[in-house]
């Protein structure tokens, strides 16, 4: 009897020790650089073949491919990669297997078209994905919104953007901003308010934290671009009135052109440069801005994501 209980104790201790060991080994395996699962996805890159191979379990397979698409983008972004060539086929496979998986279209509209490292730099693939989505789900306003968004932000084709928003506005269930966006595209496409409305709609209608964060960063960039434009306009006005450039922001304030020293969205005061330009204090902290940068600087991009394991 004692021998049996001793044996049970040994077996239990062995079980717990090997379980702990297995978990620790698995964590070590996770840290090893290996062939990515998403790369394997290209072995069967034809969505039609995959649909047949799935034996009818297309929903589950679509979910797996969708997870892989997000993981692939996250991993490439984390590694600072500029090559996202698998993102388009992964999203195509996902939506072919389940054409009603709407987050995939939204993800495609936001991250397929922008140039690396913010996105894959594949506007053609993004456009094809949106058109396929609308073909499969003609009553979803969000897909027309994504198409219009793509035409507006990446392709700068305001007429087609207006057309996409107008079509979405006609649907029985739609977003109240759709007809307004359609109307604004005709005459006010290049204005800050139009862009702000678009990014606000993206922020409010999306549940994806990456897309929402991207929208917030674009909204902050728009605020800076608009404020810098206005401040530079006031500097011009000051020069026209006094015949010289202002020496500091205080000169503008004394002339009654501004109220107080304005701050950027990060709380730092804008800088007035000797040549009359306006710059932000720390250009690397406000992403996507096109104004307020030192001469020749390109718009700053968000930093690489930091994986919890690599902190």
């Amino acid at each position: 009897m004692r021998r049996v209980s001793r044996l049970n104790f040994v077996a239990l201790a062995l079980l717990l020790a090997s379980m702990a060991g297995a978990v620790l080994t698995l964590r070590a395996i996770d840290r090893e650089p290996r062939f990515s699962a998403a790369q394997e996805a290209l072995y069967v890159s034809s969505p039609k073949v995959l649909r047949r191979l799935s034996l009818g379990y297309t929903g589950l397979l679509a979910d797996i491919y969708w997870t892989r698409a997000v993981q692939y983008f996250g991993r490439q972004h984390h590694n600072g990669a500029r090559d996202y060539r698998l993102l388009a086929p992964l999203l195509e496979v996902t939506t072919e297997l389940d054409p009603r998986i709407f987050p995939a279209y939204e993800f495609g509209a936001n991250f397929l078209a922008p140039q690396p490292p913010a996105g894959a730099g594949l506007p053609g693939s993004a456009l094809a994905l949106m058109k396929y989505g609308i073909e499969q789900n003609p009553n979803q306003w969000r897909l027309y919104y994504n198409l219009g968004f793509l035409y507006y932000t990446e392709l700068k084709d305001y007429a087609k953007a207006a057309d996409a928003f107008a079509q979405g506005a006609k649907l029985p269930v739609t977003n109240p901003f759709m007809p307004i966006l359609a109307a604004r595209m005709a005459q006010h496409a290049g204005e800050f308010d139009t862009a702000r409305m678009l990014w606000t709609t993206t922020y409010e209608s999306s549940k994806d934290p990456r897309i929402r964060q991207n929208a917030v960063e674009h909204l902050l960039a728009l605020q800076v671009d608009e404020e810098v434009t206005q401040l530079e306009h006031q500097v011009e006005k000051y020069r026209d009135e006094s015949g010289r450039l202002p020496g500091s922001m205080i000169d503008l304030e004394r002339a009654g052109l501004i109220r107080g020293i304005p701050n950027d969205p990060k709380g730092h005061p804008y800088k007035l440069m000797a040549d009359g330009r306006i710059e932000v204090q720390d250009p690397e902290k406000i992403y996507f801005i096109t104004k307020g940068l030192p001469p020749g600087a390109s718009p700053p991009q968000p930093p690489r994501e930091v994986h919890p394991d690599t902190k």
């Binding site: 079980l15 090997s18 060991g21 395996i29 090893e32 290996r34 062939f35 699962a37 394997e40 072995y43």
Partner: protein
């Protein structure tokens, strides 16, 4: 005195393992599966003929996948019957009435089954290498990585055998097959499961993380696509995978021993 007892236990385990191996080899199902694997490798050659420039890729992918799947099927279907068959035939009582302890019986069965699978894999691997020679007309340095992939497949079999034996220690053969096969499928999606756990918060996240670490991780043992492209396998991965398979099998076999010790065999 103690070392005498230890070597006697080893001898008994070895005897049970050898008998398990002999019984499995006699089983015609095993021979049929080997024939199927060889046939599949033949099919790989055929596909290689009609694929342009990717003959080697197709042969390695198809051949190694066949070795893995056929081996897993053998491991599950023999593993689940190891205990129940002995009870049905009443041979277990004869074995246990001799100075054979229950844990020795379980461990012996495990080694017998893994031995069978190693021999089985050896013949299937031979088929894969013959197919490779047929399409490429010579062996390449990168074919050595195919051997590593085969080693990982054997490690996969170790875990599947241990799991089949664990489930068969308390469940019916049918349910044991279902449980083991389900864990095999989940284990192949283990990395996706860990990916889901990483983005899930709260209690759901904890549960998903616990599940992800508890199920066997077969995805790390699958380097078929990598070696098909001739990419090397890091030495540390070989070490970690060996360690992991050993530890996971020990865990499952310890569980099987614990349950089998308490099982009422009357």
């Amino acid at each position: 005195m103690k070392s005498d007892g230890f070597s006697a236990a080893n001898a008994r385990i070895g005897y049970i393992a050898f008998n398990t191996f002999r019984e499995a080899v006699r089983d015609r199902v095993l021979y049929n599966l080997i024939a199927f694997a060889v046939l599949l490798s033949g099919a790989a050659v055929l596909v290689g003929e009609i694929s342009i420039d990717i003959e080697r890729l197709v042969v390695v992918n198809l051949g190694l996948t066949a070795v893995s799947l056929f081996g897993v099927v053998v491991a599950i279907f023999i593993g689940i019957g190891l205990v129940s068959k002995e009870i049905d035939k009443r041979t277990l009582y004869t074995v246990l009435s001799r100075p054979v302890r229950r844990w020795e019986f379980v461990v012996g069965k495990f080694f017998g089954l893994t031995g069978t699978l190693v021999v089985n894999t050896f013949f299937m691997a031979l088929g894969v290498f013959l197919a490779l020679l047929y399409v490429a007309h010579k062996f390449d340095k990168m074919d050595l990585w195919v051997l590593i992939a085969l080693y990982f497949i054997v490690l996969q079999f170790l875990i599947v055998c241990a799991l089949a034996l664990f489930f068969s220690s308390f469940s019916t053969p049918l349910m044991s097959a279902v449980f083991t096969f389900a864990l095999f499928i989940i284990g192949n999606l283990a990395e996706d499961l860990r990916g889901v756990a990483e983005i899930t918060h709260g209690a759901g996240g904890w549960l998903a993380t616990a599940m992800a670490y508890l199920v066997p991780n077969f995805s790390a043992l699958n380097v078929i696509s990598q070696v098909a492209h001739g990419d090397p396998v890091p030495g540390r991965l070989i070490l970690y995978n060996s360690l992991y398979a050993g530890l996971y099998s020990t865990m499952a076999i310890s569980g099987a021993v614990l349950i089998f010790q308490r099982r009422n065999l009357k």
